[in-house]
């Protein structure tokens, strides 16, 4: 169970492969992975950059609790959450979530749970920089498929 916040650009696939090398070979049969990447458009506007504010200390604690919750609900061997904070450019990964399990169903379901719980509970806030020089805080949408920032 690992939580990492990155103030520099993160390499999601390197993070996942490095983490997997720390697991006992043969102890898992599935890894489900989600990567969220910053778009250059949102709500009909061109977005030139984004700043992710967070609550240091609480963010790490809440993400660790989310991993604990996933572990009580699914038989997962391990999980990984990596999240960017600070200034982000379009095209850069924002978040990576991975879950390892013996079988794919638990890995898929745990991975989705981790991501949805993160969006609901982790104290992170996106502020977008717009093409005209303005800035706006992203509002949470009741529909997760239209929430700002990544391409769920």
């Amino acid at each position: 169970m690992t939580v990492v916040l990155h103030s520099d650009p993160l390499e999601p696939f390197s993070l996942v492969s490095e983490h997997e090398r720390g697991l006992a070979p043969g102890s898992f049969g599935a890894c489900a992975l989600f990567v969220g990447t910053m778009r250059d458009f949102n709500d009909g506007e061109i977005v030139t950059g984004m700043t992710l504010e967070h609550y240091p200390g609480m963010t790490e604690r809440e993400l660790a609790l989310i991993e604990d919750d996933a572990r009580t609900r699914w038989p997962i061997q391990d999980s990984l959450i990596g999240h960017r904070v600070g200034r982000i450019e379009p095209g850069q990964p924002i978040v990576v979530v991975a879950a390892w399990s013996a079988h794919r169903q638990a890995a898929f379901e745990a991975c989705q749970f981790l991501m949805e719980a993160l969006k609901e509970r982790a104290p992170l806030w996106k502020q977008e920089a717009l093409e005209d020089g303005g800035r706006r805080w992203v509002s949470p949408s009741p529909n997760p498929s239209h929430q700002g920032g990544e391409g769920l």
């Binding site: 999240h83 969006k119 609901e120 104290p123 996106k126 992203v138």
Partner: protein, 77 residues
């Protein structure tokens, strides 16, 4: 002794302050902390609270030395 109050994101910008300290005497719950720290403002709708780095309700009890945070709905991921 006192209670630390922190604000984040759009709420921090609206209030023009990120952190403050308020006297703990007479404070019983999270809602009391807001009233002490922002006596001229009602708690904005949808604002969330945390107590010592954990999500909290306005009724949760607060003790001397605690850290209370107020912030808008989260938008990470």
């Amino acid at each position: 002794m006192s209670i630390t109050v922190r604000y984040f994101a759009s709420l921090r910008e609206q209030l023009g302050i990120s952190e403050a300290s308020v006297p703990a005497d007479g404070i019983h719950c999270v809602a009391d902390v807001w009233q002490r720290a922002q006596p001229d403002r009602d708690l904005p709708p949808r604002v969330l609270a945390a107590l010592n780095h954990a999500h909290a309700s306005l009724e949760d009890p607060v003790r001397d030395g605690d850290e209370v945070a107020f912030f808008p709905p989260v938008t990470g991921g």
